[in-house]
Assembly symmetry: C2
Homo-oligomer: 330 residues x 2
Amino acid sequence: MKKLLNDPESAVADALAGLAASRPELMVDQEHRVVTRRAGVRPGKVGLVSGGGSGHEPLHSGYVGLGMLDAACAGEVFSAPTPDRILVATRAVSAGAGVVHIVKNYTGDNLSFDMAAELAREEGIEVEKVLVDDDVAVEESTWSAGRRGTGATVVVEKVAGARAEAGGDLKAVADTARRADAMSRSFAVALRAGTVPAAGRPGFDLPEDEIEIGVGIHGEPGRRRGPLRPARALVADMLDAVLADLPETSDPVVAVVSGLGATPLLELYVVYGHVAEELARRGVAIARNLVGNYVTSLDMAGVSITLCRADAELLRLWDAPVDTPALRWG
Amino acid sequence: MKKLLNDPESAVADALAGLAASRPELMVDQEHRVVTRRAGVRPGKVGLVSGGGSGHEPLHSGYVGLGMLDAACAGEVFSAPTPDRILVATRAVSAGAGVVHIVKNYTGDNLSFDMAAELAREEGIEVEKVLVDDDVAVEESTWSAGRRGTGATVVVEKVAGARAEAGGDLKAVADTARRADAMSRSFAVALRAGTVPAAGRPGFDLPEDEIEIGVGIHGEPGRRRGPLRPARALVADMLDAVLADLPETSDPVVAVVSGLGATPLLELYVVYGHVAEELARRGVAIARNLVGNYVTSLDMAGVSITLCRADAELLRLWDAPVDTPALRWG
């Protein structure tokens, strides 16, 4: 295994130390692996917490900041954070208006966040849980009951953060997040597996001419393996899968093309070009887009495509100012 | 070779098509592979052109926009753009105040930009060339006479763009760019080679436990090969190399930790943590930092560290508003 690390055991702590050094506007609680905004949460604002296994950076710590998350909990690589740590994060961002937990749909994350929510409620903090389950590749997976949560997390965190920043109450913020999730679908392909530091070898093997179609962000199997095809054909297949399940409205979409960690931007732009071309052909307008590394899987080579049907309100929330390490505009 | 492409021959054109689809504020001239700002150049503003071989994205097209470049010329992968195309870009951004060419120090780029500058001057456009040569790994290389131009290009393009935006004249903008280059040094290591699409196989082979120390952004050999060491030790060695050659002033530095294309953010933050720790130990203050993929080498795994001694004026220019695909703030 070749990685820029000191020790697999310290990978997450060392990366968080680097984030803290890079971003003085964030606070890193190393004991609990919780990242918050140094500015804190404005009294009366709904607090937003997300988190999950590490290895998906910039998710989630890279989305902590004005107009997005108030706290991110970093578990070990591909392992859910423990409930006590999520509780610490929940307390830290509770400012009297309740806290929304944004949870990718994996069994471990669900359990941890549910337990943390229960403990927080016992302390008098209202908590609403929002599940992200956008990955259409499989109905059930080795890591989840129901669809997995992947690329849509960025969209959900962005619009929920904007709604909270604009003064939305707990129900409004949670409803906005749920609506963004309901309107989003994703699909990913892997060209090469990533390597979990503690395992020291790739999570799966792929023959030199095959790809994993519908892969999950932990390297979970997808729908099938198949030959690597030209980007144009691959994108058409991926969009078939996404659009077959995407709610049909007349709204345009927010399109996110995310590298899985080891795919260069040159290739991501090639993919995005075909996404734009293919959606135009199918009469789906793209209102906004992101092309880059947004939800990754360590050093997996591959790409995910996320579409979110966005009405005027979701677009307005998408466009609202955001200031985080990984998303910044407005 | 596993890549998200259609055909090695069309890789650059397909990526530019994707960029054009993603960024309506940019214009892509596919015939000449030139990316410009749709808004054009304000009359009387110095125009800024950079460019070089493709495969280093987001360099250079990702730095076209307000407060940075006015045009980027994309050559084939790892090949300099031809003079006629640089001339097209130079004409496009000429607004009566002259044009600065920011050129990474490689023989091919030098030749092409020099020829284009000569042709532009014949048309009455004043051109100043600024060479970027920050890589301390080797004094001479297979691709260059003198030091290679790498990570400092981002710093040079940023501060020169800000100076031009603020109304600096041709000499002032070129001098600012030259000063940023003179104040910058870089050093990179590769864990795995990248693959040029047209070649179809990795540019070099590295044993499973070795890294290339001082690698260039085209996979050119560095100082030596050596064992992969813990990130902390590797960073200390890289900083030794950079600091041995960095001008000694009392100014703080802008630090850029850039992935080379296939290195995940988790590892880049581990590296940045040690950069911060080690520079603090050596009494060098970091005033600003970037951690991400800024100057890459296709799907090479590895990292570069760039330091630029920045006085108050360079910091002010660094902080000035910028709005490009890859850098955005203010």
